[in-house]
């Protein structure tokens, strides 16, 4: 269910990464001397969606990806500063022409069933990713591979036709155990999708559909046994219920809503029991225009709308101040983000002037602008069930009303919204959000070659310079060159405003105070999950001791 997924994505801080801005009440609550790391206890997380399967190759929802992350590992991963580091790979080397990557694998890693992990498993995973029998949505990156080979059990080599910068990050894909999957032509129908066996820090214990998933610490994990004995994820679809569960001790950790963060966690009782964290999440919300629409083909009109929208009011009203004004499609604080782009401060006068320049005047005095007998009125679409987008729309509606632009709001069920309106280009404007992947390649969203049906440049953005820069950015591993290309792209996007970039929301995880060892970093809080612990005298779930 996509709506749930979007919601989960907003709440899931386990996968999400970001920059730690604020940690409230950092002090420890326990008595002095009780702070020593200790094994044992369990952490109970709340999730609004259930797992749909454990093999990330064939799932697409964030609950499943989070759960799979406990059990499986990839060759590489992003560290706490959002730089790629080896996970199952000890090191890697990119050939000077950028076409060949050689991974050196870690020694002595075993699967949870005790069998050794080798380069054969990596090759097997690659082959299954490109196998037509695998119902995966992520084959594209792996299809760029021209050749893959395993010179020895600890070496894996891939060769690409052209240098392909996003390739490295694609090897963060979870490696699958060949010895358990080889006999299943379709991995999604293998027992492993329901009872996973991986190389990760936690071993699978049970999955009760719609209820919970349980994992236990893997004593043989290659980075050391995690302190917490168990990770339990409870499925609680309603955020209001989940929050009550948190307060009553039913769960230890959840992503709270901005409203809960600001208005319901300020009590003495709550502070005594929980730590709150806050950092920018990896995503942004935007107002996108169909650029071929007669109202929006004029750049001045789009800029005028950007000036007319009071982004601060949206952040205050919808996010209770827990977010930042967006200026482009990359996250502030990351290496690729360019803060020096054109900004559009709230300025209704400037908006009216720009609209006037574009020929829009309120000739008949009814409060709505006209041009050549046509009223400036349009409909914005957004997906049903996403409260913050609906609220954002309501505020924009009022903002635009102030400059003589009439906007209607329609919320639609996700499937209908995408298939009947976005895919068929039957919309004036939409309010949607994108998550921001760590690799800056956004070819699919901005390239003029990606405007076809079902493709993601659905606003129909076309700019020759951007096309060239996108190509440049994905064909080199040189960070400086990539940075330059993407900086320029951000300038162009800010100038042309195919989207009005609205805001980056904060991720707002809350964790019970008995859990120690959390150190917020740019990547969020969960990167050092295996180092989280509960001091011996504060442990709560003692029946799970291994």
């Amino acid at each position: 269910m996509k709506i749930a997924r979007v919601l989960v994505a907003a709440l899931a801080f386990v996968l999400a990464a970001g920059c730690a801005k604020e940690k409230q009440e950092a002090g420890s609550a326990g008595p002095v001397g009780s702070d020593a790391p200790a094994h044992g206890d369990a952490i109970v997380e709340g999730s609004i969606g259930d797992v749909s399967g454990f093999l990330t190759a064939v799932t697409s929802d964030s609950a499943s990806h989070t759960a799979a992350g406990y059990v499986f590992s990839g060759l590489v991963r992003y560290d706490k500063n959002l730089k790629l580091e080896g996970e199952l790979a000890e090191s890697w080397e990119v050939s000077p022409d950028g076409k060949r990557i050689t991974f050196r694998l870690r020694k002595g890693v075993t699967w949870h069933d005790g069998k050794p992990f080798t380069s054969e498993d990596v090759l097997f995973t690659y082959r299954r990713m490109i196998d037509p029998n695998t119902p995966t949505a992520y084959a594209e990156d792996f299809k760029q591979v021209k050749r893959a080979e395993t010179p020895d059990p600890r070496t894996f080599v891939v060769e690409y036709g052209k240098p392909f910068a996003p390739a490295l990050a694609s090897w963060g894909m979870h490696v699958l155990p060949k010895h358990l999957l080889a006999e299943y032509p379709d991995i999604s129908r293998s027992p492993l999708n329901k009872k996973p066996v991986g190389t990760g820090p936690f071993r699978f214990v049970e999955w009760k559909t719609g209820e919970k998933t349980v994992f236990e610490a893997n004593p043989d994990y290659f980075e050391g046994r995690p302190y917490l004995s168990r990770v339990i994820t409870r499925v609680i679809p309603d955020p209001a219920t989940m929050f009550l569960e948190l307060k009553s001790g039913g769960i230890d950790m959840m992503g709270v809503t901005p409203l809960q963060y600001t208005r319901q966690t300020e009590t003495e009782e709550f502070r005594k029991l929980f730590h709150k964290y806050r950092y920018l999440s990896f995503g942004y919300t935007y107002l996108g225009f169909r650029l071929s629409h007669p109202l929006f083909s004029d750049q001045r009109v789009r800029q005028a709308i950007a000036h007319a929208i009071h982004k601060k009011e949206i952040i205050d009203g919808v996010l209770f101040g827990l977010g930042q004004e967006a200026t482009g499609p990359y996250k502030p604080g990351t290496w690729v983000h360019n803060p020096d782009v054109k900004r559009y401060p709230y300025d209704p006068q400037r908006a009216k002037a720009l609209l006037g320049e574009a020929g829009w005047k309120d000739a008949d005095g009814d409060g709505v602008l006209e041009k050549e007998g046509r009223k400036f009125s349009f409909t914005v679409l957004t997906n049903a069930g996403n409260e913050s987008r609906a609220k954002t729309a309501a505020i924009i509606q009022q903002n635009l009303d102030g400059v003589g632009v009439k906007m209607e709001i329609r919320t639609l069920e996700w499937a209908a919204f995408i298939n009947e309106f976005v895919d068929k280009r039957k919309f004036d404007a939409v309010i949607l959000g994108w998550s921001i992947p760590q690799d800056p390649d956004q070819y699919d969203i901005w390239s003029s070659k990606k405007t076809g049906p079902k493709e993601l440049n659905f606003v129909g953005f076309q700019n020759a310079e951007v096309d060239r820069l996108l190509e440049e950015g994905r064909r080199t591993f040189d960070l400086e060159k990539r940075k330059k290309a993407y900086s320029r792209i951000q300038e162009i996007l800010a100038e042309e405003q195919p989207y009005v970039f609205l805001y980056y929301p904060d991720a707002l995880p809350v964790v019970h105070k008995r859990i120690h060892g959390i150190e917020p970093a740019p990547a969020g809080i969960s990167y050092n999950f295996i180092k989280w612990y509960v001091p011996k005298d504060q442990q709560r779930y003692t029946t799970f001791q291994q």
Binding site: M1, K2, I3, A4, A42, V44, D50, S52, G53, V58, T59, S60, S64, P132, P135, A137, Y138, A139, E140, D141, S188, R189, N193, K194, T209, G210, E211, K212, I232, R234, V235, I236, P237, D238, A240, T241, L244, E245, K247, S248, G250, E413, W414, A415, A416, I418, N419, E420, V422, L432, P437, Q442, D444, I445, G452, K454, E455, L456, Y541, T543
Partner: protein, 324 residues
């Protein structure tokens, strides 16, 4: 009578086929499909990958071929495989949700009967008394108060403030380490709020129904006769009136059969209960065709059987109809 039942049973087959055909057309006509739901707005998915997934699910075939295939499998009672990524059989997915849905519905139905019948009888006997008026307001409060609101209030009271009951879910995390008595209490305490909330909402219908049946019966001549014979009022009410007023309840029981396996999404998501309501809602939202079809056909079958039971039961119980 037997011929009537046989005829109705035979009729069930074409009805089920008709229902399944309409459902099939409706869900396939609804915008979006299972592949699109899993891949929409995902930058890493190409058109080719999408086509591959469509072929994988058999969605590349013309719709009548898909329907005939589905019908063929149904003939062997094979509901097929769910499109969801766990690759489970539809029958397994539905089966694992039946116990909890059934338990809550049966318990709340029992509770409704236990409370609604006395309320109905008493407020009919004492029509327009204070009891009648107050009970009217109370049962309609149950009817009008949205489930989620009442549920949250009770959770705050019993779960957060008083800490007497768990808030949501089916069992505690430490369930496996509890003794037998502990296990029984654990399950019971998790069921108390959901059963109460769902029963409270259903009181209005049943108690009002009972009340009007009772009023109807009290006006009948034989009650007057019984009274005239000098029978004590209590005996008149319980022996004569209530027994007759309960007759139409047989119909209600029959009509309730499909409801026993029905669940409400809102109710289940508030209490975090993995029941059939949530499963069905999610399958509709993700366009999991085999699962939607499976749930609809089972529901339709139960509805038809329930209707039949209601009609037959009524005919057997009501002498006026039997003599016809």
């Amino acid at each position: 009578m037997l011929r009537y039942i046989a005829r109705r049973l035979v009729l069930t087959v074409p009805l089920l086929i008709g229902i399944s055909l309409i459902s099939f057309l409706v869900i396939h006509a609804a915008p979006g499909g299972p592949v699109e739901m899993a891949t929409d707005l995902n930058p890493k998915v190409t058109a080719e990958a999408r086509e591959r997934l469509r072929a994988y699910y058999g969605l590349d075939q013309p719709i009548h071929v898909q329907y005939v295939r589905w019908l063929g499998r149904m003939a062997t009672l094979d509901f097929g495989q769910s499109f969801s990524r766990d690759g489970k059989q539809v029958s397994e997915k539905i089966g694992e949700r039946i116990p909890v849905t059934l338990a809550i519905n049966v318990l709340s139905m029992l509770l409704i009967f236990l409370v609604a019948i006395p309320i109905g009888v008493y407020s009919a006997v004492r029509k327009d008394s204070w009891f009648d008026r107050i009970s009217t307001v109370v049962v309609f409060t149950g009817f009008a108060v949205p489930t989620f609101w009442l549920a949250l209030l009770l959770m705050i009271l019993f779960g957060v403030k008083l800490r007497w009951l768990p808030i949501s879910g089916l069992v505690s995390l430490e369930y496996d380490s509890l003794g037998l008595a502990g296990k029984i209490w654990d399950r019971t305490s998790h069921l108390l709020l959901p059963v109460f909330v769902s029963a409270f909402g259903g009181l209005a219908g049943f108690s009002r129904y009972m009340r009007s049946n009772m009023l109807e019966v009290i006006r009948q001549d034989y009650i007057a006769t019984a009274r005239a014979k000098g029978l004590p009022e209590r005996k008149v009410v319980f022996r004569h009136a209530m027994r007759n007023a309960l007759l139409p309840f047989i119909t209600i029981l029959g009509l309730s059969v499909p409801g026993l396996l029905g669940g409400s999404v809102i109710f289940e998501s508030i209490f975090a209960i993995p029941g059939l309501g949530q499963l069905f809602y999610q399958s509709v939202m993700s366009r999991d065709y085999p699962l939607i079809m499976g749930a609809l056909v089972i529901g339709a079958f139960l509805t038809l059987i329930g209707n039949l039971l209601a009609d037959v039961g009524y005919a057997l119980a009501d002498p006026r109809i039997r003599t016809e």
